[in-house]
Symmetry: C2
Subunit: 540 residues, 2 copies
């Protein structure tokens, strides 16, 4: 039994090593177009930024280490140029010698990944991308050159995860960085009000963020924007997104998905029963709807690689739909998300309940607590968790991971209320931020409280609803939502005569507003609370 694997990084190498563990006698050949296998893709931006200083640290395995431990025949600089499905063989070109040869297979695994998209604009060839070790060496040299120039500047096209990571790392290398993003926000896996927190943080660290703009031309030391402006740019990076490498599969007549990836079943099998595919090149199934999705993430690539080996070895396994849990850090801020955003749920026609909170990562009375903003998107009909997002400092990763696990376990939003999470004052709170999301979800589900979202506020005010800031006079004086009068929550019962029949209350983060709304509702008012309070509205 001979398995040929095209692509020797996350998914491909997971398949190769698992297959050896399952079958000592299997013949395994890995063909990698670039000069390295099993390298640390996700670490590349940090090598550029000198956070990782040892280039060898990026090379997790080498062809010789894989040969010694796993008996795998790994060939780098080896491009597969075609697949002959009838003959069950591939044509390989050695990029070192130019030599071409056939390699036959019993099973073929496609793990070619996805290629950074470079927009077809004049001068685009100067735009650098970051996919493999070769790209990294090239970018590192370019950064060295730019950093020693008179006015080191960088323009990053695209404000996704890689763009934001590179913005940090290029800044740390002394470059003045501008991110140019076509959408009206950074980081598409977040909703706009959470992405805004990242934007502000980047700005505080000297990164300029231009949204709703694109680069239309790359010049020798500048770029031209869709706005007509010109920006200096010693360095230009394309981090707009990636496109599945489907060329080989398409040429071989394999079925593709509607959005362009290689189509596979739950065994990662393509439309040819002898050919499997994994990783960024394939279509995945969305965990919320089961629909096709492109989710270029390391986790699913690795797991699906392992699974393909199981399938080839005859084990009964099936891949699961993906949530797309992801995280990014920059200048000490962390942004993470799992499942769906509000905008995506609304676009799909779902009726949603949305919850914003601004908790601390651990008990406030213990020194060093760091703040975060959390958002939970809940199916209004079923109380199912559709997705969650978090932006802040320490502990964001933990809360998103807990919620992702709850989603995998089929827990509802209200079920989050009684999760038992580890608590000592330096690690959490007796009512953890995730429990609090559950409490609020339950209150919303049961109609104990009614909230208004930040983006609904203007329409409500236009209808003439009364807006009351229930914080202290001091907080009110430092800035409030436009149009609010001030009645502190502790004075509310004594000042009911100042409160109209239809009222919208707000506080700093939503908690006092909730209390106020409960009190007022029981005194005959229609009282709604501004979800997430002043902080969500003002995006601070």
């Amino acid at each position: 039994m001979k398995t040929v694997i095209i692509g020797g990084v996350a998914g491909g190498m997971s398949a190769a090593t698992r297959l050896r563990r399952l079958d000592e006698s299997a013949e395994i050949v890995v063909l990698e177009r670039s000069g390295h296998v099993s390298f640390a893709n996700c670490g590349l931006p940090y090598y550029i930024g000198d956070v990782i200083t040892d280039r060898n640290a990026l090379l997790l395995q080498t062809p010789s280490s894989l040969k010694a431990r796993f008996g795998i025949d790994v060939r780098v600089d080896s491009e597969v140029i075609s697949i002959d499905r009838a003959a069950k063989s591939v044509t390989v070109r050695s990029l070192a010698t130019g030599e071409q040869y056939f390699e036959d297979y019993d099973a073929l695994v496609l793990a070619p990944g996805a290629a950074p998209f470079v927009p077809p604009i004049p001068g685009a060839s100067r735009a650098l991308t970051l996919r493999n070790i070769g790209d990294t060496d090239k970018m590192a040299a370019a950064v060295d050159a730019a950093a020693s120039g008179p006015e080191p500047t960088a323009v990053i096209m695209g404000g996704g995860f890689i763009g934001v990571e590179l913005a940090e790392n290029l800044t740390e290398r002394g470059l003045k960085v501008t991110i140019v993003e076509l959408a009206d926000q950074l980081l598409a896996p977040l909703d706009v009000e959470l992405a805004a927190l990242v934007e502000k943080h980047l700005a505080r660290h000297g990164v300029r963020v231009l949204t709703g703009a694109s680069v239309t031309e790359v010049g020798a030391d500048s770029v031209v924007l869709s706005t007509g402006d010109t920006l200096p740019a010693s360095l230009v990076v394309a981090a707009i997104g990636v496109r599945p490498e489907t060329g080989l599969a398409e040429a071989a007549g394999l079925e593709l998905g509607a959005r362009g990836g290689i189509l596979v079943d739950e065994h990662q099998r393509t439309s040819d029963p002898s050919i499997f595919a994994v990783g960024d090149a394939v279509v995945k199934r969305d965990a919320v709807t089961g629909n096709e999705a492109l989710v270029p993430l390391a986790g699913p690539a690795n797991r699906h690689g392992r699974l393909v080996a199981d399938v080839i070895a005859g084990r009964s396994v099936a891949s699961r739909p993906v949530l797309g849990t992801a995280i990014v850090g920059a200048f000490g801020i962390v942004a993470a998300a799992t499942g769906w955003t509000e905008k995506r749920a609304v676009a799909a026609g779902r009726s949603v309940r949305v919850i914003h909170t601004h908790p601390a990562n651990h008990a406030g009375y213990y020194p060093g607590a760091e703040g975060m903003s959390l958002k939970l998107v809940v199916d209004a009909a079923t109380d199912a968790i559709l997705g969650a997002q978090g932006v802040g400092g320490a502990g964001v990763d933990k809360r998103i991971d807990v919620i992702a696990t709850a989603m995998r376990g089929g827990l509802t939003a209200s079920d989050l209320a009684d999760l038992e999470l580890s608590y000592a004052p330096q690690f959490g709170s007796a009512k953890d931020p995730v429990n609090m999301l559950g409490f609020i979800a339950e209150n919303l589900r049961d109609g104990l409280t009614e909230t208004v979202q930040w983006h609904e506020l203007d329409a409500e005010l236009a209808k003439g609803v009364q807006l009351i800031d229930v914080r202290t006079p001091g907080e009110y004086a430092r800035g409030t939502v436009d149009g609010a009068i001030n009645i502190p929550v502790d004075e509310l019962r004594a000042r009911l005569d100042e409160v109209g029949a239809d009222v919208l209350v707000h506080c700093q983060v939503g908690l006092r507003g909730y209390l106020a709304a409960r009190t007022l509702a029981q005194h005959g008012r229609r009282a709604r609370n501004l979800d997430g309070g002043y902080r969500t509205w003002a995006r601070v």
Copy 2:
């Protein structure tokens, strides 16, 4: 509708405030025996250690703040001395004036907590305990006095969570600390081999740990041990455990559980339909078996307090059994656990699969990775997760919280393999430590690998099994399992003639051993892997 609540800290105060939120017209009286309500119990050790320097930070709410915001009648220094169930009233004694009065109720909530146990030994009255603000002030003064003495020493009776926290905090204040623990290990929620890691860490920071010993007498400046030895002790602390405060309930004829707490149903209702109870004084249901359990933790106390208010307000809710997720930190090491230990599962007659791993909290190629030791206890019959433990640095809390959530969601151990957890190199790994536990669980479930536990090794060797250390010669030379020969994993295929028919392999953490065992099994050997490798065996 009038509700009287006895006890104004976690469970009692959660009940009081939730009840106000649900019912603006409810009459709510909170009677607290000590001088403070709603204080930060879990912060008290850190005030002793000057980590929390502002005493007011411990006081989350005061009677006047609760009056202003919630209209709750909070009375401190107010001890309830009896309950008249027929008359539905309690007798209250003011500890300030000595005055006694009746307070009638429609619903009564018992949240009296649990009292630190002080052993009945000579001189025990000098032993300090830490339960409330009064105790804290007393201990803080005693520490100040001891710290300024010529040879500041402290003996802590009991090596549970509070004992370990106090050991850190008293050491930070300059005291030479000894923990005296009757059991053969610290931290009962951990198994012995993980607790040993905490013991070693404490020793490295100057704390002496004596297990299998107890204090038999407390002298003026020393203690006598069960071993006959005498230890100097400027300060003596009793942190042996707590006992549910059931006196009032018992005197009122309420039913108690077999292990001593107040018996309640899933609505936290006692055997008297008008009386509820929550918190450390009550019996809880164990999430694994549904049996009665005493679980004195802040999380369940707070959640059950909230639930009691719901029940009193007529809402349809029910409490869930508890896992007992808990965490403790000391001198930078973290120990956390959820569910059952191996020793508990074995004592209960369960057949278990046990997994030890020693992962890093994030990708090793990114600077600053910290190590941890994880243990998963799995029901061998069903693949259900019975419990998990972790000891190490950053990220232990996250992994235990994720596993606790998986247990709540009914996921099996093998299901952990495909959890989608947030990954970027500074936060985790593409195959997170929790995923790795799932991979191993699946391999064990499917019979792909067979492991031997550290405590089974001697018996296996006595049977004549061959023991092979598959690490490098350098690692082997620095220390190996007694009796092992060395064949590095990468040389195994070439040196098969040196391998007998029944072999036990080990490496450093278990991964190379797994590879070796897979290879050997496919070459006709019975090959088992030492679970957790040299590190679990040597407890390093």
